[in-house]
């Protein structure tokens, strides 16, 4: 039995907009799934339908054995937290945190213990006597997160819960959230447009675009074998590099360059893809797999640098060591690691090999 199962779920608004186009998705109990995609891809609508805040126009949603497609939110055993926190303004932080437990009849001493525990982890202990309007946006966000996590429902639903937090707090919260989820084994659906967060948290990443699921797989799979060009570009920071070419067996010709693939392809137009970390600075003279170009942008990122190089085959980004050569304006040679070249169908964008 799956903890959450969506079958052919559709959402079409009265104005004809198809926000979600018949998606299928099943979660194992205790699984942490991240819905990832740009604004307007349908990820939030999907989450809201699981929560019961929106009703699908077709398809079915099951939580465990229960069919919940048309049930109200309160009739589903879900806990949710959204980017735009909704705290009870007349209650203190302690009362806000305790509220979900009081409604379920947990003993008073146990409530106090759990509130203290969550507050300690989220750094909210000193704020317990305050009211929401006395808190900053980031603090309110943490209270909202704490309130959702104090109860152990069948499913946690989270829509960019860390969206308004500052970077260092965000990372701490991320780690706390994941540790807590692993401990409680609560099945979780988490929505974000931030792929680093997705990579860090997810057992499985579901990449969405235009209301459809493009790929649902482990972080490694999505990163190494993206199902299509959109996923390849969207996942990874920066995304994958692309080169237009023509396949002849295991060889692909791109302009004056030729690249060798591990597996043969049917003849035709392809798009080659390669991650920035698989592009190295080359000292060898121009030849097979070596491209020359001028560094347009030299981006220092602390643990690495990204050189954005304009080549005859378009702009290629190479991730190099912080102290590697190659400054803005300089000409450099690039070597593309054939073992990490992927080929996509030029027309459909689907991964070929």
């Amino acid at each position: 039995m799956k903890a959450v199962r969506l079958e052919q779920v559709e959402k079409t608004y009265p104005d004809g907009t198809r926000a979600v186009r018949g998606i299928d998705l099943a979660l194992e109990a205790g699984e942490f799934v991240v819905l990832l995609g740009p604004s307007g891809c349908g990820k939030t609508t999907t989450l809201r339908m699981i929560a019961g805040l929106e009703l699908p126009t077709a398809g079915s949603i099951r939580l465990g054995e229960a069919e919940v497609t048309r049930l109200r939110p309160a009739q589903r055993d879900v806990g949710f937290v959204f980017q735009f926190y909704a705290l009870y303004p007349h209650m203190t932080v302690r009362e806000n945190l305790a509220f979900p437990l009081e409604a379920t009849g947990v003993a008073r001493a146990e409530i106090a213990r759990r509130v203290d525990e969550v507050a300690r982890h989220l750094g909210l202990l000193e704020l317990l006597p305050r009211r929401p309007r006395q808190l900053s946006g980031g603090d309110q966000q943490r209270v909202a997160l704490g309130r959702a996590m104090i109860r152990r429902p069948a499913v946690w639903l989270m829509d960019e819960p860390l969206g308004t937090l500052d970077a260092d707090l965000r990372l701490t919260m991320c780690e706390f959230l994941r540790a807590r989820q692993l401990e409680e084994r609560v099945t979780t659906v988490y929505v974000t447009h931030d792929q680093e967060e997705a990579l860090r948290l997810a057992d499985r990443i579901v990449v969405m675009s235009q209301g459809a699921i493009l790929q649902a797989a482990s972080a490694t799979e999505v990163y190494d074998r993206p199902a299509d060009l959109f996923v390849a570009r969207f996942v990874g920071s920066p995304g994958m590099n692309f080169l237009a070419g023509e396949a002849h067996g295991t060889r692909v010709r791109c302009g004056t360059q030729e690249f060798q693939l591990a597996r043969p392809l049917a003849p035709g137009q392809v798009t080659l893809g390669i991650r920035p970390e698989s592009v190295a600075l080359a000292v060898a003279p121009e030849g097979s797999g070596t491209l020359r170009g001028r560094v347009a942008v030299d981006e220092y990122l602390g643990s690495s640098r990204c050189l954005h190089v304009d080549t005859p085959l378009g702009r290629i980004v190479a991730r190099v060591a912080p102290d590697a050569p190659g400054a803005r304006g300089e000409e450099v040679g690039l070597a593309l690691d054939g073992a990490h070249l992927l080929a996509f169908d030029a027309t459909s964008g689907r991964l070929l090999a």
Partner: protein, 341 residues
């Protein structure tokens, strides 16, 4: 000569000092990034430089002249805000022309036309010129907002988190474009952000601001590799720098539980906090044992979260490593990259 010299700037709102003695110098064609969390004073700093706030103390020098008490219009600076404030119902062209049609500008129509066209081409929005501003995507709106700053050909750009409201993916592409464009125009810029990747990527210099004070100023490399304090270390880098409490035992650093943390310099203090970046720790080759608690996929690399010396230690390793939770290892902190506080 510096383009901008901010000295001892203080701005109070009631009893609270939003700026508490800020110094900032910017050279010709440079990009200075002010990095700080919400409430650090970033926006107040920009507004004070622009002349929208009057400082309580300190001075602002623009191109060698004292501009502390000049009205905003006399300063020739262009501000871009987080919330793209365009005129809805007006075309992109009208929005771009607006600052050029301000009273007193007296630009010839042909010159206005030329500037709008050039800016639109540089920002890749030339095909949107006749479109209504309310029909633009978020990314397009922010390009237009930046375009409105560019057409004025100011002496200084002041940008207040202009990319914050955009999708992560778009933000990443635009930060590269924006820095390249500003460098090409040769106009210096003070760029305010809470995004550490933007700060490292875009800045010629980074100024870490917290509680109205600059904690450290320097090149991105200097601030990233030698953060002056744990607070600075926490502001930059993902994951943040590892921090370990240590005492010196002869020529070695030791944690409270006795764990050997590696060699200590002869002149090191008896007690210190050590900082070391994840990429400067190797999972093997050290003196003391640790356990792998988690292995995180972080895109181009993996992060090991180790249980070590009574705390957690992040270690960056190449992708597709064979490490798994429960493994034992002996982390080695590269001594040349250990920062002692």
């Amino acid at each position: 000569m510096s383009v901008l010299g901010v000295r001892g700037l203080v701005k109070r709102f009631g009893a609270r000092a939003a700026l508490d003695g800020v110094d900032l110098t910017l050279g010709a064609g440079e990009i200075a990034v002010v990095l700080g969390p919400t409430g650090a004073g970033k926006t107040t700093l920009l507004r004070t430089i622009a002349g929208l706030e009057t400082p309580d103390a300190g001075s602002i020098e623009l191109h060698g002249r004292d501009a502390t008490h000049e009205p905003p219009a006399a300063r020739d600076v262009a501000l871009v805000f987080q919330n793209f404030s365009l005129y809805p119902g007006r075309s992109v062209r009208a929005n771009l022309e607006f600052p050029l049609r301000a009273p007193g500008r007296n630009l010839a129509p042909a010159e206005i036309q030329r500037r709008v066209q050039t800016a639109a081409e540089k920002l890749a929005i030339a095909h949107l010129l006749e479109r209504d501003a309310k029909r633009l995507s978020g990314g397009e709106m922010q390009r237009v907002a930046i375009g409105r700053a560019i057409v004025r050909q100011p002496k200084l750009f002041l940008m207040d988190e202009p990319l914050t409201n955009l999708d992560a993916k778009l933000r990443e592409a635009l930060r590269v474009e924006l820095a390249a464009l500003v460098r090409e125009l040769g106009v210096p810029m003070v760029y305010v952000t809470h995004d550490q990747a933007e700060a490292l990527s875009m800045g010629d210099s980074i100024h870490v601001l917290a509680g109205g004070r600059i904690l450290q100023s320097g090149t991105p490399r200097a601030v990233y590799l030698r953060p002056a304090s744990p607070a600075v270390a926490r502001a930059l880098g993902a994951p943040p720098m590892n921090e370990l409490e240590a005492r010196r035992d002869g020529a070695r650093w030791r944690a409270a539980d006795g764990t050997d943390l590696g060699p200590a310099p002869a002149d090191a203090p008896a007690r210190a906090r050590l900082g070391v970046r994840a990429e400067h720790v190797a999972p093997t080759g050290g003196a003391s044992e640790a356990e792998v608690e988690r292995v995180e996929d972080a895109g181009h690399q993996q992060l090991l979260v180790l249980r070590f010396a009574g705390t957690r230690l992040h270690v960056a390793v190449p992708r597709a490593s064979s490490w798994k939770p429960g493994d034992r290892c002996r982390p080695r902190l590269a001594p040349e990259h250990v920062v002692v506080w």
